[in-house]
Symmetry: C2
Subunit: 448 residues, 2 copies
């Protein structure tokens, strides 16, 4: 928000590892040793001190005024078309500029493209690029923790807008390294002259276009200016809220980021946020051609036009590895919920003679692969008929079961293992332990 | 086909295990010791001997005649409606009767239901239930092998219709146990009087309905009789062809059966054939409520009406185990195609001092979890900035990498492992081998 304009100019002391502390806004005016307002609970007496009134005015107040004024200003279709067009451009200023270019350096831009992006970013009124990127890097570094400036763990509304309209304790926000941004003249210029940039690009420019273009000064100001700002803001805020709340987690489910096409549609393609948090320096958010990522398409177009270069991509191999491990994790969770029969190591060890004797005494026991199975309840249900399975009682049916008479399906092997009651002393151990490995192998991984 | 009617009546000698040999049709008339025609290649001189002319006439000849006659017989809408209705009923005779009731005994039926199903099965003209079930059990037992009566390995057309219109060597077809069918009076009756049953149910009955009902004798004969037979035949043949050819293999991909909704639509729900071959005695073919399996819905309705009982279902646990193992298998195949870095056991073991010395000499080496990584090419690409990663060169960065400074993502761990160049002597071995287990654990399973 505009409040960033009042920040000291990139001269905060750096830590030896290159990161800088989050310098509080208007730090000179306030005493840092005094406890911050956020350290007190919200009460009826102090609640207004918890609100960041400047931000509230910019994010909620102005749009309200715009909405009310719109009642008296008719919407011309040329103005409407320009407002939509300008909406996309200013949105790209945030997604392709602030986010993918500056916060993540996922590609390099030539000077003209940088100027365009910084200008469009200002037109969105979401704070200076320098301020935004610092917060965003902290968000990636400390995702979902106390140090995450817009942690969704504090609620969807908080991550969407609360973190701006409520006072923040600057000491809480994590540190991040923005030395590269301090060296970028476009970023530094936009930061230094932020308020002028915002006024020019967010309000004056769209008013001029509509006024000089087709005489709709008021419409340009209200629709292409104020209301367009409101929509761009709400849309891009969704990256912090919706993208951490709605959808799947194909790459990692330890943190909150999620992939969803709805978020993508709202945010010019930033909706594949699980991918993005896992591979933040990839210039793409969507990796499939059929997924909606216009920001990626624009960056790619700029590359073809010679305006962008060094587009970074994670190797497909790394991406597939991540996807595979997440699938594996889900499979292992599922595996742990299923009944795989009594673990072999908990079964009694039985002598061959005892096995034969018990089977003679009427117990329907069948040995397969060194394990003894009680098939009493299954004989009449056996899909291969009573006769065949009965013929194996009291015998080692390993070979018949595995192709000698019928090559049983995997399902039959699974079913068999739920019937096991003992291990043959000196049975075919290789088989036994192979099977054990297959069934339990991932349990260790789950418990890791 | 009708040829089954000429088979000897269920008196073939049984093997001790309860199975019976495939008794050739008209065995008394032919000398079994003479080489069978299928043992000779097809030539211009003997091709007609390879054709089973009786079956060909029933499957292709009669429908042709029907199609031609239809030209002169106008189709009345009542007759059309009845033909469709009768199509579904006779189709159920095969799917719910021949297939799920008799071949797989997946549920039990009361006498009235059995009579209805046997009658409708006859109306489909696909051979007696006894003959059909024996072949079908052999198909399940010897799926895709030489002994499978309609193995899709011999081509899609063969599995669809070729196995009936071409002569078969009876010695080739696998044995199966049908003692239970020989004890079922309905099955035995239908087998003994098969030709009469077929004539009555396939032709006379529909002709009578349409003739007595609304005077359309010819239409009933042509549309509800002959052409309806043709469509039912072609549809149910798809279980042997399409269901082994089109679709996914969610439970087991070692054999040909596949799941596909198109096959299901054509075959009254028999299209979830991968499931079916894995769980043949389950009265369902589709296990999800939203999948198309009208045969299952009918059996369930009959149960509610008290006509069917003892509906068999595999435990959901067993089904999920099968699905999980198949997913695991695919995951393992995928895993084997990815680059997981040089296996740890192939890396040189390096002393701590050598590591530090090499790093001092300008090599960008970082130790993490007992493994040494060469990050030279990665420093400038590091999403966390050059400064941070450089600060770890020549050091053990295990703690910083794992949360001390930043808790790296799984993707970062994967990437890291592609950069490894050595193992630290006496490094934290537990970590090393844990990792190795996680990466390679399923390779053994794949090679099983
Ligand atoms: C010992 C426990 C046994 C279990 C748990 C078992 C389980 C099964 C299962 C689940 C099937 C369905 C098809 C499949 O999944 O592959 C099946 C089919 C079959 N079983 Fe078994 N079976 C056992 C023993 C035997 C024995 C000892 C024989 C032979 C002597 C045998 C012969 C067959 C045959 C021939 C079929 C094929 C039936 C068909 O597909 O039409 N089974 N068995
Ligand atoms: C040794 C090899 C290293 C590799 C392969 C590596 C890899 C990565 C990767 C892939 C990311 C992107 C985010 C993620 O996947 O978690 C990342 C981010 C990060 N790395 Fe590293 N890293 C390495 C070393 C280090 C070291 C030694 C430090 C600190 C001293 C460090 C600090 C960070 C930080 C702070 C981020 C977060 C950046 C952000 O999200 O804005 N990394 N690293
Ligand atoms: Fe995020
Ligand atoms: Fe990001
Ligand atoms: Fe089949
Ligand atoms: Fe079947």
């Amino acid at each position: 928000m505009a409040s960033a304009a009042t920040m000291p100019d990139g001269t905060a002391a750096s830590f030896p590892d290159g990161t800088v502390d989050y310098t509080p806004l208007r730090s000179s005016a306030k005493d840092l040793r005094k406890p911050h307002i956020t350290e007190f609970p919200i009460t009826l007496n102090n609640w207004y001190k918890h609100v960041n009134w400047l931000n509230t005015f910019f994010i909620i107040g102005i749009p309200m005024l715009g909405l009310i004024s719109a009642y008296w200003v008719p919407l011309q279709w040329k103005t409407a078309a320009f407002a939509v067009f300008y909406y996309f451009n200013s949105g790209l200023g945030i997604t392709a500029g602030y986010h993918r270019l500056w916060a993540h350096t996922s590609y390099k831009a030539t000077l003209p493209l940088k100027i365009y992006l910084a200008a469009m970013g200002a037109a969105s009124v979401e704070g200076s690029c320098r301020w935004w990127s610092r917060g965003h890097r902290a968000h990636h570094r400390y995702t979902d923790t106390e140090k995450d400036p817009y942690s969704v763990r504090k609620g969807l509304l908080y991550s969407h807008i609360g973190w701006m309209v409520m006072q923040q304790n600057p000491k809480r926000i994590g540190r991040s390294d923005i030395t590269d941004l301090n060296e970028d003249p476009v970023v530094v210029f936009q930061h230094r002259y932020y308020l002028s940039c915002v006024l020019t690009m967010a309000l004056i420019f769209p008013t001029l276009v509509c006024g000089l273009g087709w005489g709709d000064w008021f419409g340009g100001y209200i629709y292409a200016g104020i209301l367009r700002i409101f929509f761009v803001q709400q849309a891009t805020f969704c990256v912090n809220s919706l993208a951490h709340w709605l959808g799947d987690q194909p790459f990692d489910d330890r943190n909150s980021p999620r992939d969803h096409v709805i978020t993508a549609l709202v945010t010019l393609g930033e909706g594949y946020h699980n991918f993005h948090h896992e591979f933040p320096s990839d210039y793409r958010n969507a990796i499939q051609w059929w997924q909606y990522d216009p920001t990626k398409w624009m960056i790619f177009t700029w590359k073809k036009l010679g305006l962008a270069y060094d587009l970074k991509q994670f190797r497909q191999n790394e991406i597939e590895k991540g996807r595979l491990q997440q699938l594996q994790k889900k499979l292992d969770q599922k595996r742990a919920t299923l009944d795989w029969g009594v673990p072999l190591e908990q079964l009694p060890v039985i002598h061959w003679d005892d096995f034969v004797a018990e089977a003679k005494n009427g117990k329907a026991l069948v040995a397969v692969a060194g394990v003894i199975h009680d098939v009493t309840d299954f004989v009449k249900e056996h899909p291969g008929g009573k006769a065949l399975i009965s013929s194996a009682i009291g015998k080692d049916a390993t070979a018949i079961f595995n192709g000698g008479v019928y090559l049983h399906s995997n399902a039959a092997h699974n079913l068999l293992s739920t019937m096991r009651v003992g291990v043959l002393r000196g049975g075919c151990e290789v088989e036994i332990w192979k099977r054990a490995q297959m069934e339990n192998k991932d349990v260790t991984y789950v418990n890791d």
